[in-house]
């Protein structure tokens, strides 16, 4: 399936290797993960023959891109700026092409409650939820609001920051006494908390790529963390989580999971690549949890596993995405 990256060749010009800047780092909780993703992308692209430079998204970035333009930028930033659409909006202003979803779609996907509303409207199942800022608890009385939340959503609950990835700040609350402390530690990550009904089941990572023929779901990666909880440590410590690719689910479930991932990708207006996290409940239903516009690309990340399981080479896929963006104006 592998295909050599085609560099953009304007007619009459000498072909040149595709030049890209891989953005990694950033000023967020996920900096370390991003540096790890970025390094992997940079190595893979170099292997695929792309002239790639790895750099942080800081005050030097825009002058650097102006002085040495890239055919397209690859955003391996996780967390705010890289994923919330802000950086992409600035790249749009600067006329710099980039791989991945447009700014507005990113903003929507970044806001997990908003994304859940959109995908639910598109007919996709997602666990019931409520998202509230700290001020609501303060003004209406935390006890009253939490009581209502538990009464309507039940236990266990998933408590997570309304934006951000890598499972930072995510907690499963099984006993009501744990809830106030869970809220306190979750609000340390951001001003809005998303509280979701917990769905028991098999966790799946559903990667989607679009190499030009429309969004294509890659084989689902099943996640089986040793500790039972797919938290930050389970994600980024090799050996602490077992991954099964393709997932050990029936063909029917696999097909519906793939369909869900593509529907989410389209409903939110995403482009090029995405990774949807979902859960398969014992009745075989697939439930949407959240979507990442800048999926992890580290050695232990699920997106590269899915790419490989589909018979692609990661470097080739990334190079093809770059080549497409280098040729097309948004």
């Amino acid at each position: 399936m592998s295909e050599t990256a085609a560099a953009p060749v304007p007619s009459g010009a000498e072909p040149h290797p595709l030049r890209t800047v891989v953005l990694a780092g950033g000023l967020t909780f996920e900096r370390e993960v991003s540096l790890s993703s970025g390094t992997q992308v940079w190595e893979e692209l170099a292997r695929a023959g792309v002239d790639a430079e790895l750099r942080d998204a800081d005050a030097e970035l825009l002058p650097g891109l102006a002085a040495a333009p890239a055919d397209a930028v690859f955003i391996a930033l996780h967390g705010a700026t890289g994923e919330d659409g802000a950086l992409r909006a600035v790249l749009d202003l600067a006329g710099v092409p980039y791989v991945g979803s447009p700014a507005a779609a990113c903003r929507l996907a970044w806001d997990k409650p908003a994304a859940k509303s959109v995908v639910r409207s598109a007919g996709v199942r997602t666990p019931d939820w409520v998202a509230l800022p700290h001020s609501t608890f303060r003004e209406l009385g935390a006890g009253t609001v939490l009581d209502l939340m538990v009464a309507r959503l039940g236990l266990p609950l998933m408590v997570k920051p309304a934006s951000g990835g890598s499972a930072l700040g995510v907690q499963k609350v099984t006993r009501v006494e744990e809830l106030p402390a869970a809220m306190v530690s979750c609000f340390a990550y951001g001003d809005t908390v998303l509280v979701e009904r917990f769905v028991e089941g098999v966790e799946l990572a559903l990667s989607v790529i679009d190499l030009g023929d429309g969004p294509e779901a890659l084989p689902a990666v099943e996640i089986a963390p040793e500790s039972g909880v797919f938290d930050y440590t389970s994600r980024y410590t090799p050996g602490l989580t077992e991954y099964h690719t393709p997932a050990r689910v029936s063909d029917d479930v696999a097909a519906r999971a793939a369909d869900l991932a593509v529907r989410v990708h389209e409903a939110l207006g995403l482009a090029d690549l995405s990774r949807t996290d979902a859960i398969v409940s014992p009745d075989g239903e697939v439930h949407f949890l959240e979507v990442n516009v800048s999926p992890g690309l580290t050695e232990t990340s699920m997106f590269p596993m899915a790419v490989e399981a589909a018979g692609y080479e990661l470097g080739d896929v990334l190079a093809r995405l770059l080549a497409r963006r280098a040729r097309t104006e948004r």
Binding site: A114, A131, A142, A151
Partner: protein, 426 residues
């Protein structure tokens, strides 16, 4: 939140937007860099045959002589160069001592809190660390005696007391003169070995250096020294001063680990001590650190909310801050990252999970203005966290309907399996 998450949050410290009160990096740019540069250049061009060659496992004899001169400043006048083993920083010295003395399951007594790098070494040796309480005057001798009695009663083998008596990392406090005598007397009484780790002893802001524990007892104290804070941490030159019988074992252990400490950096330190005004340089360092300590303490006094308390170091690099009641420095860390200020959560300095309400602030590296800005940001973070706690701490979940349904089963109150009635609250 696990250790790996703390490490991940630390990643942002490398960005200039973040004021780091976290790392303990000495202010090396205050060194006469040109002079040091030409000195090291000459060591290679003029003495390459020695400086680029293997050396002895115990370390360069000339350097060991000079190390004895340095230790004399803290009252250690009976040390001979043959009792000194040069190590790759005092960290390797601590590792060697631990390898020589400790078997899995042995008990090591250490101040609570204790230097995180030491706890790592002890953990690797599968030792059990028992913390001994300290206060503004350092380790509390009564608490030490209680721990020794307890361990004896439990049949625990106590291998040594690990202590940082001067300008403690992380607590910032110094063991008082009276307590030094008491601790050494306890060592005699209980046949206890003391590992005296003293990287900061010459960095006092006023008065003469305190007399070392090793100066009071040359058989029961093994002394760890370092040039990392008085000269350069990048050169990685430290040492162990130990009785001859122990020294033999340390040399064998270091030869197995690294063959010999790096020759070039040992020559660099020896030449620096021979040719540069190193005492004046230490004075310059302490003046710089005192100014930063003052900026830290002044800002804390002005800006910290009620309920916070902190130590007032007379030297060294660190202030140990206790948060207002109920706050957890580790859980607060994401908020601090958002506010672009970094510190080290206290839990890392305990082997037993304590220390959640503490944090270590380092003032050695940032300039005074940055320190003031960092403390300002930190104060805002703490205030926001207090606000959050005031919202959630008083919630009585025991009164929730799902817990005590009023005459109905909890299941009937819990919401429907997948209704579309919820809005996202925006």
């Amino acid at each position: 939140m696990k250790t790996s998450e703390i490490r991940a949050l630390f990643s942002v410290v490398s960005r200039p937007e973040v004021v780091s009160l976290a790392g303990g990096m000495p202010a090396v740019t205050a060194l006469p860099l040109d002079a040091v540069g030409s000195m090291i250049g000459e060591l290679v061009s003029g003495m390459g045959a020695q400086t680029l060659q293997y050396g002895s496992g115990q370390g360069d004899p000339r350097l060991r002589e000079r190390i004895c001169d340095v230790m004399a400043l803290e009252g250690i006048r009976d040390a001979s160069p043959s009792e000194v083993v040069v190590t790759v920083g005092s960290q390797q010295g601590l590792d060697l001592v631990t390898r020589v003395f400790v078997d899995p399951g042995d008990v090591i007594l250490a101040e609570g809190p204790s230097y995180v790098g030491a706890l790592g070494v002890f953990q690797a040796a599968e030792a059990r660390v028992r913390h001994v309480a300290m206060d503004d005057n350092g380790l509390i001798p009564e608490a030490l005696e209680e721990a020794l009695v307890d361990c004896r009663a439990n049949g625990d083998r106590v291998k040594f007391l690990y202590t940082v008596p001067n300008f403690h990392n992380p607590a910032g406090v110094t063991l008082s003169e009276a307590r030094r005598e008491a601790v050494v007397a306890l060592a005699e009484k209980y046949d206890l070995l003391i590992i005296e780790d003293n990287p900061y002893g010459l960095l006092g802001f006023e008065g003469e250096p305190m007399r070392a524990l090793r100066a009071r007892n040359n058989q029961r104290v093994i002394y760890l020294g370092s040039f990392s804070k008085t000269f350069s941490p990048g050169l990685r030159v430290g040492w162990v001063l130990a009785p001859l019988a122990v020294r033999e074992k340390l040399v064998l252990a270091t030869e197995a680990q690294v063959l010999c400490p790096p020759s070039l950096t040992q020559y660099a330190v020896a030449r620096y001590l021979d040719t540069q005004p190193w005492r004046e340089q230490i004075k310059l360092f302490t003046e710089l650190y005192r100014e930063r300590r003052d900026a830290t303490l002044e800002s804390l006094a002005t800006l910290m909310p009620a309920g916070a308390a902190w130590t007032r170091p007379d030297g060294g690099f660190y202030v140990w801050l206790k948060l207002p009641h109920g706050l957890d420095a580790k859980l607060m860390q994401p908020r601090a990252v958002n506010a672009h200020v970094a510190y080290v959560p206290g839990i890392g300095f305990f082997a037993d999970g304590n220390g959640r309400e503490y944090m270590r602030l380092s003032y050695c590296y940032p300039e005074p203005d940055q320190i003031r800005e960092g403390v300002r940001r930190l104060a805002r973070v703490i205030e926001a966290e207090l606000d959050l706690h005031s919202t959630f701490d008083r919630v009585d979940t025991g009164t929730f309907r799902a817990v005590r349904p009023a005459g109905r089963e909890a299941e009937t109150i819990v919401g429907p399996a997948n209704s579309d009635t919820y809005e996202d609250g925006r």
